[in-house]
């Protein structure tokens, strides 16, 4: 089969970082090609070069599409050639309807007057292609992330796409939605659409890929062919991190649980904007030295539960009690929760986790500035030492701690977010989807870190949609569905099936 795309000797430098170093990348027509590699390996950058986000002249090397050298000056140019890229952060307009979103930017119009009728008809066709049964007039804001992802794809299809690029499309999807999406990619393949997918979920890579290309430190390491049986998890990991990793979850020596550290009784949160309860009558506790997992589907109220006990009340009406070491406490603001030893690593690092326009060190110290300040005057040199310390201990890949967080790769942003909350020195660390978008090596590092923390007597609450992780790391599992706790399982009794059953109650 011929190559639809060849990227030859691509080199791309940012101040202080060589993100791509003579990368060669070939994609055959009609295949599903997965691109894998550690955080910061350069995957996203390579795709941004391909789609014209970084215009011609901004990088070295050649992009050859169907045998022709391309010089894209803008994203529009690559779109005209049938390339569509779907970023991890969805780019839909929340207040607009599904059909408006699908044809946003290339509306059916005559002299600038939109023909809404054919827009709607065409939108329905596109939705059929992606197997979606939502009404085209629904506002995007009312739909789940999984559906939104499919709408993004419908949007790409409406532009007559030949080469579809997806950057970590399943990172924030639950298992059902992920499967849906992978199935769709296979269907599209039958229709002749070539896909390039970036993913850290090796299971799905193995399930779907015809070819896997591994990047490491900005270089192509190898291309593995599925038809030759080369796509094997162990090998992929080895090529990705440059060494073998045998256990995905680090072992834990002698578990020792102390007293109950945090207890929540009859906890309910009423969302005044939505006009309904997002958390209902939750009873929850965690002991010193314990990792408690909270499993459930997207929208089960796990994040809302975390926000509400963390004092981020937004528009919530709250009832119930919180006890820390047996003493009742009230968290009217996150600062109260922080004072009482809680820390919350948000699931949405770009939305409410980090300040993207500020640098690594400012983000790390933000939640505990007083610790490096004397009479409110910040000791900037102390700040550098603190940030440098976390950069090393968490292995954050950045040219300098003065780099804007915006310029870090997704996984390294996550490490900054974790570092920020470790600096608070909490007793209870709440991790909301801690390994979303994180490579296998870094996942292992984060799991190891969790074990180290509990060994010191800290407690870790881990909200996660990845069941293997919940099962692999927790000492106890709570399951939530529709705002309610639907089950509690000691780890010995927990299985994927039981959890799924409780989660879909």
């Amino acid at each position: 089969m011929k190559n639809i795309l060849e990227m030859r000797n691509i080199t791309k430098e940012f101040p202080g970082v060589k993100a791509l170093d003579n990368v060669n990348f070939q994609v055959k027509e009609g295949e599903i090609h997965c691109l894998v590699g550690e955080n910061g390996a350069g995957k996203s950058t390579l795709m941004k070069v391909l789609s014209g986000v970084y215009p011609h002249g901004n990088y070295d090397g050649d992009i050859v599409l169907n045998g022709e050298v391309q010089k894209f000056a803008r994203i529009n140019d690559s779109e005209k050639k049938g390339i569509a890229i779907i970023y991890q952060e969805l780019a839909l307009v929340p207040e607009m309807s599904v059909y408006e979103n699908i044809f946003l930017g290339h509306e059916f119009h005559k002299k600038g007057i939109v023909n809404w009728h054919s827009t709607r008809v065409e939108a329905i066709k596109m939705l059929e292609k992606v197997n979606l049964s939502v009404h085209p007039s629904t506002k995007v804001i009312d739909l789940g992330v999984g559906v939104q992802q499919l709408i993004e794809i419908a949007k790409a299809l409406s532009k007559d796409v030949k080469l579809l690029i997806l950057d970590e499309p399943t990172a924030s999807l639950n298992e059902d939605d992920s499967e849906n999406l992978l199935k769709l990619l296979k269907d599209l393949k039958k229709e002749g659409v070539t896909s390039i997918m970036i993913s850290h979920k090796l299971k799905e890579v193995i399930a779907i890929a015809d070819t896997v290309t591994v990047l490491r430190d900005g270089k192509t390491i190898c291309s593995l062919d599925a038809s030759k049986g080369e796509v094997v998890e162990k090998d992929i990991i080895k090529y990705m991190v440059g060494r073998e990793i045998n256990d995905i979850f680090p072992k834990r020596e002698n578990k020792k649980f102390g007293d109950v550290l945090l207890e929540v009784k009859d906890w309910s949160a009423f969302d005044k904007n939505l006009g309904r309860h997002v958390v209902k009558n939750v009873n929850f506790n965690i002991r010193e030295g314990e990792i408690v997992g909270i499993a459930g589907l997207m929208g089960a109220g796990r994040t809302e539960f975390a926000h509400s006990i963390f004092g981020n009340m937004k528009e919530y009406g709250l009832t119930g009690e919180i006890f820390i070491k047996g003493k009742p406490v009230k968290h009217n603001h996150p600062s109260d929760a922080i004072k009482n030893g809680l820390a919350y690593v948000s699931e949405d690092r770009k939305g409410d986790g980090l300040i993207l326009i500020q640098d690594v060190k400012q983000n790390i110290t933000l939640a505990n500035l007083n610790k490096i300040a004397k009479r409110t005057v910040i000791d900037k040199h102390e700040e550098v030492i603190v940030a440098e310390g976390f950069r090393q201990s968490l292995n954050i890949k950045t040219p300098s701690i003065e780099q804007k967080v915006n310029n870090l790769s997704g996984g390294n942003q996550q490490k900054v977010a974790i570092g920020k909350w470790l600096f608070v020195e909490p007793n209870v660390l709440i991790l909301d989807e801690p390994t979303r978008g994180i490579d296998v090596g870094a996942k292992y590092e984060i799991y190891t870190l969790m074990n180290e923390l509990i060994a010191k007597g800290m407690s870790v609450i881990m909200i996660s949609s990845e069941l293997p992780e919940v099962l692999g790391m927790s000492d106890r599992v709570y399951v939530m569905a529709e705002g309610k706790l639907t089950g509690e399982l000691p780890i010995e009794e927990a299985t994927q099936e039981k959890i799924m059953e409780m989660a879909t109650l």
């Binding site: 901004n58 600062s335 409410d352 993207l356 326009i357 400012q362 005057v377 550098v384 310029n407």
Partner: protein
């Protein structure tokens, strides 16, 4: 080394842009007015007429950084200026009482009116302050009774017109001014060197030694040039000293304190700031209270300058202050902006007015040109920002 200079300039063009703009404007007007623009008398006057706008620009910078705007500052300044004149003339209070009382009143207006509306009741700042603008316009007319009120107090007027006393006069130079200038330059050099040492110690990026020396020498000579100009006239004015102190304090707070860091965090991402334990509400109150206090200071400076309060005082100040902040590189999307930048921005706008006045350019053209300069400055800001993110 030229290469490094070029690289440094192009990399930090956003930071240096407005200094270059200011220099260009000054040079152009100096040429066009046959040197009149750079005479000590004109410079001295330029500083005094920038003063009352500059302090507003400082406060406005923080307001814009936290993604709000304050349209009321002009008439609040006018109103509080009138109050201070009344306190001085009718009640005969000393300025040592008038100044703190007026500043406190200003802070209270910012806190209880704007702060409550914006932070508590979630009214958009644009609307809340638009309402305040009309209200204080009315109050100003009311308290002045549509008449001009003289302050009738020498000490008060000196704030806007007077100069610092001298200890000795040598060759017609104002010695205290020169001493202050030299001390300021020495302090600057000392801090820069200390900072550089620390940066090297922590292996962070620094410019090369020759570049560093060039920069220090350049800043020092520019400052001393202006100091000598002023010293050959009547020395530093009280306005210059007051603005200097305000800038120093605000610069320190924004750069070195937890409060400053919290303000920029709220501007950069309010949700993330809130989750980090920072009360967005509290910061909003603080920033508007500071704005109100600086509006009061602006009113005092302006009243002192005119030696009286008028029923139309403060008209349009808010626009000049906002323009100063934007020209000075404050970003309209929040989270970015420097107090020092805004001062330069205010100086750019004032230099334009002063220069055009000297050239007898008609008022109509003055407004048009100032508007165009504002747009150019913002285009420059937006473009260089895009350039950076594209390159990066």
């Amino acid at each position: 080394m030229f290469k490094e200079l070029r690289a440094a300039l192009s990399e930090n063009i956003r930071d240096y842009g407005m200094y270059i703009a200011l220099a260009v404007i000054m040079v152009i007007f100096t040429v066009l007015t046959d040197g009149l623009f750079l005479t000590p008398r004109v410079l001295s006057d330029l500083i005094d007429m920038t003063g009352y706008i500059a302090v507003l620009s400082v406060g406005m910078t923080l307001v814009i950084v936290i993604r709000h705007i304050d349209l009321s500052v002009g008439y609040v300044a006018g109103f509080l200026g009138a109050i201070s004149a009344i306190l001085s003339f009718k009640l005969g209070w000393s300025i040592w009482v008038i100044i703190p009382a007026t500043l406190a009143l200003g802070a209270m207006i910012g806190m209880f009116w704007t702060g409550t509306l914006v932070a508590r009741l979630k009214v958009p700042a644009f609307v809340a302050t638009l309402a305040a603008m009309t209200i204080f316009r009315g109050l100003l007319i009311k308290v002045t009774n549509s008449e001009t009120i003289f302050t009738g107090n020498e000490a008060f007027n000196a704030i806007g017109n007077g100069y610092i006393p001298d200890i000795a006069k040598v060759d017609g130079f104002h010695i205290l001014t020169i001493i202050i200038g030299v001390l300021a330059v020495l302090a600057f050099v000392f801090m820069e060197i200390r900072n550089r040492k620390k940066l090297i110690q922590y292996k962070l990026r620094v410019s090369s030694m020759p570049m560093f020396i060039i920069k220090l020498a350049f800043v020092a000579s520019v400052v001393m040039f202006f100091i000598f100009k002023l010293a050959s006239f009547k020395g530093l004015s009280w306005t210059a000293i007051i603005v200097g102190v305000v800038v120093f304090i605000y610069n320190f707070i924004t750069k070195n304190t937890t409060l400053g860091r919290h303000i920029y965090a709220v501007g950069g991402n309010p949700e993330a700031a809130e989750l980090s334990g920072i009360s967005v509400k509290f910061i909003t109150y603080v920033v508007f209270a500071s704005m109100g206090m600086l509006a009061a200071l602006s009113g005092i400076l302006f009243t002192a300058r005119l030696q009286s309060a008028t029923p139309t005082a403060g008209m349009g100040f808010e626009l000049d202050a906002i323009a100063g902040a934007f020209v000075g590189g404050t970003s309209a999307s929040g989270g970015v902006g420097k107090v020092t930048g805004s001062i330069i921005g205010a100086l750019v706008m004032a230099s334009l007015s002063k220069g055009m006045d000297l050239m007898n350019v008609g008022v109509s053209y003055q407004y048009i040109i100032r508007g165009l300069v504002l747009v150019v400055a913002v285009i420059f800001d937006v473009q260089t920002r895009n350039m950076k993110s594209k390159k990066a």
